[in-house]
Amino acid sequence: MRKPLLALAAGLLLAGSVSAASAAEKLKVGFIYLGPIGDLGWTYQHDLGRQALVKELGDQIETTYLENVPEGPDAERSIEQLVRAGNKLIFTTSFGYMDPTLKVAKKYPNVHFEHATGYKRNPNMSTYSAKWYQGRYIQGLIAAKMSKSGVLGYIGSFPIPEVVSGINATMVAAQTINPNIKVKIIWANTWFDPGKEADAAKALIDQGADVIMQHTDSPAAMQIASERGKLAFGQDSEMIKFGPKTQLTSILDTWGPYYIERVKAELAGTWKSEDSWGGLDSHMFAMAPYTNMPDDVKKIAEDAQAAITAGKLHPFKCPVVGQDGKEIECKGGANLDDGQILGMNFYIKGIDDKLPGK
């Protein structure tokens, strides 16, 4: 029994490094990160948000973060660790922390929780996310315009609604430019493995894709596309450094304003459980500069961005036709409603691939 116990103890230590500063009577705000803060993607952007928060309210709060926390049961222990360290508002920043966060939230009703990209809530647990599919729509327009082969390459992480709705939004847009556009989809089944992401990008390019889009976290795909002289979109953060002649644009997560708003509410005692799902109009995310494309394509992108921001254009405008050729029920009047997009588990017509698990 000795060895497994030791292994277990070591595993517990592995979960993450803690950074904390001591101060008296300041509001303690905790963050749980999926990757390292230097991942240049998802976690990096959350940490930029935290830094913005510290800059704005640093005299009244104290922040702590745990990085490299795996999704699943191990997360529960890390979240509890933050609770026991006295954090009163805790942001858990990945989809896979949903159930662990809910479990801890039920156990500690006096602590407030904010879970990113999930759909389960509690009186002391909010959810927040961004309507990235709006950005994906703009990328779809650009991709269809820029692709010479008519084949797009898409690296997915896990087949969850957020990723699936991104693929659909891309294709809805691309089909308005080129009705015969094809997309090849490879699921990496990981959010972060630079080597595997690079291999997936190579496979897509070798199979004829000339515009690479990704829903994984590292700049590996951008770097491969750049090496092979293809085009690509960044993910979560600015990746133009890895492809100065490659990056078309990137969806930039900008969490700072939201974090500041929620912590201010907590400080004022007005925090309540909410579901925030912000689009381009809410500054929850932004588009990186449109680069490496002719002016007419740039104009199409900018016009679409303006129309979406103004609420004049909805990526999932009815009718939306599913893979089987049947129209999807239109619950939101003129477009699919938020619930349908948040729970999206089908491909639209024109995607040849089969959705895993369907």
């Binding site: 292994a7 230097g38 630079p194 080597g195 291999d199 770097q223 698990g357």
Partner: protein
């Protein structure tokens, strides 16, 4: 045809770090030492390797940095597990945790920097041969190095007296000691070789595979290398089969997804592990049978005098 060549190139690129790291661990384990810190030594090798290449502009010096860093990490292990006779499993796991933290610290200043990756060999005429040209004559130095390494290790273990003594230490350290061989010194060298290989394998990632450094970029490859050593029943030949098979299935499942064969991607992602385990288990059953693990693997040895 071009696609076949592209796939083979990608397979070699994906398999090489596994092969290099596993080769080192194989020697360590054949000497009777179980070092579970491969992942930690690799990631430190990656950070130092990138730092070296970025500072000097030379991939070769970067690789040397990686080797030295991996060796230095392995010396910590040797000090604890061999010198102080601490439990090897615990020490190895601690080394991995240390390595992950340390590499983040070393690499923090280099995140977001880019370097020119290792160049591929080019021999006019030979490299241009269709299909096999680039595979045989158009790889980077790491790939050739990994093949030389495993052949060298096979030759050393089975064709030299020193290799025989090393294996003797791994199978029965008491007898080896009684015969007058310096068991702990031999094991220290074996651990250092393992560390050097892990460091080189780690350095390969930011120097050739994806030419930038990001914390955690080994993403579990050290653990796969460890598993390959066990499933290859500690034999260099089978290790080559295992490493390339793992790489091949990894790449092929990505391509299969791109072609849209309709098998759930979750299953496809598990396939490299499944295929490698099954093939290597079948291979080892087809021959001798029974356990082929070094008999003294993982046991602490304290010389009585």
């Amino acid at each position: 045809m071009e696609l076949v060549e592209a796939i083979i190139l990608a397979v070699l690129a994906a398999s090489t770090p596994l092969l290099i790291a596993a080769t080192g661990e194989l020697v360590t384990e054949r000497a009777g030492v179980l070092n579970l810190g491969v992942e930690g030594m690799m990631i430190v090798g990656a950070a130092c390797g990138f730092a070296g290449a970025w500072l000097t502009g030379s991939i070769f010096i970067g690789a040397l940095f990686g080797i030295v860093a991996g060796t230095a990490m392995s010396l910590i292990f040797a000090l604890m597990a061999l010198g102080l006779a601490v439990n090897q499993v615990a020490t190895g796991l601690a080394l991995t945790i240390l390595g992950i933290g340390l590499s983040g610290l070393i690499g923090a200043g280099f995140v977001g920097e880019r370097i020119k990756p290792a160049v591929d060999l080019y021999i006019p005429g030979l490299t241009d041969i269709p299909l096999v040209g680039r595979v045989l004559f158009g790889e980077n130095a790491f790939v050739y190095c990994s093949i030389a390494l495993i052949i060298g290790v096979w030759w050393f273990l089975y064709r030299t007296r020193a290799g025989l003594i090393l294996r003797a230490c791994g199978d029965n350290h008491v007898s080896a000691h009684a015969l007058g061989y310096p068991v702990l010194r031999i094991r220290t060298f074996a651990v250092m070789f393992g560390g050097a290989c892990a460091g080189l394998a780690g350095a390969y990632l930011p120097l050739a595979y994806t030419p930038f450094f990001i914390p955690g970029m080994t993403a579990g490859r050290g653990w796969i290398a460890l598993a390959l050593v066990v499933f290859s029943s500690w034999r260099p030949g089978r290790l080559v089969v295992g490493a390339y098979l793992f790489g091949a299935v990894t790449i092929l499942q990505l391509h299969a997804q791109g072609w849209g064969v309709g098998i759930p991607s979750q299953f496809m992602s598990a396939l490299p592990y499944l295929a490698t385990v099954i093939v290597l288990v079948l291979l080892s059953r087809a021959r001798t049978g029974g356990s082929t693990a070094p008999a003294a693997l993982g046991t602490v040895f304290v010389p009585d005098r």
